[in-house]
């Protein structure tokens, strides 16, 4: 197993730092899959994280100027590591002005991702800062847990309102209730509802638009054409999970969508430049 990448472009460094920073706000640990073309940050839905799962994909060519990866074997040409994104984020944040940043898989006292940056200085010798981030190598037999999630058989798909607005609403609702109902229909309407013994609050969003999933929508499990456009599909979720998702978003994505499987799962998809982030929040009774 070998991995070595070099980032020289400031914009690319900035880009990957922001992605990792967003991931670090969503989860404490996750799996990093390195393939020949892509980097994937994966969180598989387990009871421990409340059933929430995440899949983030970015293309390595848009980050690294040089990229060499040799996986576990030639048939399984990828590397799977368990990482703490917070550590990676911290290491990258302080080297934004570096001339070059190298990321390598190394073995120090344990397997590590070593991030080494050459910092500009006034003197002739440049300053090198090295961060060794400990990682765990995931054995091949467990790789099936970190496969790309399939598109759920959703009932409604709707574009999200501006994330900042959603975050403000959810932040305030969190003070009143632990659970929130997200509902949306095929007429571009979405409601966020909370209900307690004393009060119920609903925020209505209109004219959001519904994404079209194309001709193969029926194979992918898109909404059936006979569905009543006014009918709401809803799911009741833990409000903290939704808040966590909204808190982590630093950049307004070019596309933000929400797929709801009635009373089963909320599937959030964000697309920005070459990065796609999918977040699944299971519904609770």
């Amino acid at each position: 197993m070998k991995f070595r990448g070099k980032i020289v472009d400031v914009a690319c460094l900035n880009h990957v730092t922001r992605v990792i920073s967003t991931i670090s706000k969503l989860t404490k640990t996750c799996v990093l899959r390195l393939t020949a073309d892509n980097l994937f940050f994966v969180l598989s839905g387990k009871v421990a994280n409340g059933g929430v799962s995440m899949w983030c994909e970015l293309s390595q060519a848009n980050v690294f100027d040089e990229y060499q990866m040799e996986g576990v074997s030639s048939e399984d040409n990828e590397i799977c590591l368990e990482v703490t994104p917070e550590n990676l984020s911290r290491a990258l944040k302080t080297v934004q002005n570096a001339k070059a940043v190298k990321v390598k898989l190394t073995k120090k006292h344990c397997p590590c991702l070593t991030i080494a940056a050459e910092l500009p200085t006034l003197s002739s010798i440049s300053r090198v800062v090295t961060h060794d981030v400990p990682v765990d190598v995931i054995p091949r037999r467990l790789w099936h847990e970190f496969k790309e999630p399939s598109m759920p058989d959703f009932d409604v798909s709707v574009y999200l309102p501006p994330l900042k607005t959603m975050k403000n609403v959810v932040d305030r609702m969190k003070n009143l209730s632990n659970f929130l109902v997200i509902e949306a229909n095929l007429s571009g309407e979405m409601n966020l509802k909370i209900e307690t013994d004393l009060v119920s609050v609903t925020t209505h969003f209109k004219d959001l638009g519904n994404p079209l999933w194309g001709d193969d929508a029926s194979q992918d499990g898109g909404p059936s054409p006979s569905r009543d456009p006014e009918a709401m599909a809803q799911a009741r979720v833990d409000i903290r999970k939704l808040q966590q998702f909204l808190m982590g978003q630093q950049v307004n994505p070019s596309k933000a969508m929400c797929n709801i499987v009635h009373e089963r799962v909320v599937h959030l998809i964000l697309l920005h430049e070459d990065v796609s982030l999918q977040y699944f929040i299971p519904a609770v009774a």
């Binding site: 190298k102 190394t106 073995k107 002739s124 010798i125 090198v128 090295t130």
Partner: protein, 391 residues
């Protein structure tokens, strides 16, 4: 005591007080003939700071005649006087500090714009003398740099980080975070290498590594950066304190921090290593991919950086191996002390604590009131950092 600080110096005084607050909870005030000394020490006596403001810093400076006056007060109260630095600059024209010995009060009067007077009466307690014994000019390794260099170095370490290890060779300085042995498997290791020509002055006599607490230093860095004064750093053998100073014509600030000491076996290794050739030049950025076939088997690769200082993290971890009962923080001691002498005093029947403290601080009060009472279990007399232990 009666002194007046005017103009921009009010802000300097305020910043000094804020940086002292990063060390300890109490401010020791001692007006001396050579200036006003403001000092602070942390509860485990492992960090000490002193700012000495010369009489010329003040537009008026009079000391109480005849007797020496010393007091201490809660530093938070003094900080409250100088709370907002931005507004100090804009509105305060002068600050008058006056002692009222009968009422045990120190009065701070801020003369502000538009004839506004803000008077703060702070009560104080009598205190013992607090004076660290150190002789930085005799230390083997001396460095001086613009504060920006140290600030840029420290930024790479998380704010919560406790300890850093600084190692030097003839041309380089390495700064890395110090990780306790138990945490080593999961901790992130960060290492930064500075070249000698980034410093204004870089004089190394012995290739040493010292480990000290970073948190307490940040107060000095903030002060130095805002005043633009160069920081000088002095250190010697591990165990001997590291001293950081800022100086100009009217003030001198010294921050003295304890360092982790070696056990005697380790010390021998250190002196041997001092004679080994310096590590190969940093060719990290020109590496060849073939050289990076990582060993996924049991072989152990070199320390944090292939070109790191002689002290690898494995070796450094033995440094922190101490008897389980004892706190590994060493105490500050006068640099005249020999390792052998400590061993003798510790083994002797007498109360070692008393001896340790009187060597370091010119203390006149009996040991029980202020000093730690932790039993000594090794030749390093260790200070307790727990308030509970102090009587």
């Amino acid at each position: 005591m009666d002194c007046v600080v005017t103009g921009g110096n009010v802000k300097v005084l305020a910043k000094a007080i804020h940086s002292l607050s990063r060390i300890g909870d109490e401010l020791y005030v001692e007006p001396q003939d050579d200036g006003l000394a403001l000092r602070s020490v942390n509860s485990s006596r492992s960090a000490y700071a002193c700012f000495l403001f010369a009489p010329l810093f003040f537009s008026r400076y009079t000391v109480p005649g005849g007797h020496t006056f010393r007091c201490k007060m809660a530093i938070k109260s003094v900080q409250a006087v100088f709370r907002s630095l931005a507004s100090l600059e804009k509105t305060v024209e002068k600050c008058h500090i006056e002692l009222d010995e009968q009422k045990n009060r120190l009065t701070f009067t801020l003369h502000c714009k538009h004839g506004l007077l803000k008077t703060h009466n702070l009560s104080f307690q009598d205190s013992e003398s607090l004076q660290a014994v150190f002789d930085k000019d005799s230390y083997a390794n001396v460095f001086r740099s613009h504060p920006r260099l140290l600030v840029d170095t420290v930024v790479h370490f998380p704010p919560s980080l406790e300890e850093v290890t600084v190692s030097v060779s003839d041309e380089r300085m390495w700064v890395r975070n110090h990780v306790e042995e138990e945490d080593q498997s999961k901790a992130m290791l960060t290492e930064l290498c500075l070249a000698s020509d980034e410093f204004d002055h870089f004089a190394v006599q012995t290739h040493n590594s010292v480990t000290f607490c970073l948190k307490e230093l940040r107060g000095l860095l903030v002060f130095a950066e805002s005043t633009g004064l160069p920081i000088s750093m002095y250190f010697d053998e591990p165990g001997s304190p590291v001293v950081l100073s800022v100086t100009d014509s009217v003030l001198e600030g010294n921050f003295v921090l304890a360092t982790l000491s070696d056990d005697p076996n380790k010390r021998k290794n250190n002196s041997r290593r001092a004679h080994t050739p310096p590590p190969p030049p940093d060719d990290f950025m020109n590496d060849d991919i073939d050289a990076y076939l990582i060993a996924m088997d049991t072989s152990i690769a070199p320390g944090p950086s292939a070109t790191g200082p002689p002290t690898t993290p494995l070796a450094a971890s033995t440094c922190s191996k101490q008897p389980a009962a004892a706190n590994h923080r060493t105490r500050l001691y006068s640099e005249e002390e020999e390792e052998e002498e400590e061993e003798e005093t510790a083994d002797s029947a007498g109360p070692p604590n008393k001896k340790f403290c009187s060597l370091f601080f010119g203390s006149v009060l009996p040991p029980s009131s202020q000093m730690t009472t932790q039993p000594v279990t090794s030749q390093e007399v260790l200070a307790s950092d727990s308030e509970d232990d102090e009587q």
